[in-house]
């Protein structure tokens, strides 16, 4: 099974449950707790939601994954990687990553506010190619 090193690099013990969680995150890109529970039940008959929540929390704290809050949707989790934005299809709920240049935007922010900005969180919604038809 892949992704063993990802767990080790983030100082997490390698367990079968964690490997399936990380693998699911890679395969699906963005995943809800519910979806994770469904997947884990297929692999471990006695899987507990508590185990999922505990692991999600640990992985967040260790910066392996992060929560993405999306308007009018349940939160999803994703593997931490370089900063990027999200587009959500309001019809089929599909979520994709996009990399944008936000320099110009941050420049605007600097002009109109006196905040010292750290991160930006940008989510678009609309219709994906399939759902436009």
């Amino acid at each position: 099974m892949k992704h063993i090193n990802l767990l080790k690099e983030h100082h997490l013990k390698v367990t079968p449950q964690r490997l399936v969680i990380v693998n699911s995150l890679y395969e699906e890109g963005h995943i809800t707790i519910d979806r994770l529970y469904t997947i884990l039940k297929n692999n471990f008959t006695n899987i507990s939601l508590a185990t999922i929540y505990k692991n999600i929390h640990l992985m967040e704290v260790n910066n392996l994954i992060q929560e993405v809050k999306i308007p009018n949707h349940k939160s999803v989790y994703e593997i931490v990687k370089e900063e990027h934005s999200h587009i959500v299809c309001t019809n089929c709920s599909n979520i994709i990553d996009i990399t944008l240049n936000t320099d110009e935007l941050k420049q605007q922010v600097k002009l109109v506010s006196n905040f010292h900005i750290n991160h930006s969180c940008i989510v678009f919604d609309g219709l994906c190619h399939d759902c436009v038809a």
Copy 2:
């Protein structure tokens, strides 16, 4: 009390509780359920959280207010107005509105995705002027 027309325009009956809710939204800009409960308790000794949730839900459905989801924070509600972005201070949790020109950003999105975009939701975090010191 002001804001009676705002309720009427959104097809909501005018009640004392609703007037205080709308008034609080105007005065504070962004407000959590908890904060609303604290305020309403000062005005109505027997106010129920159920009343607050029911009204918040109704006002959302009638497009008078909207939820703003903020990374690592409780959701806040605000009066619906022209599209704008938010900056949150990671130290004092203060939230301010900013109006940005997102044309260039949406142009980028158009180039790298085949979505038909509707809305954008942009939240920055950082330190406000007071907290930098």
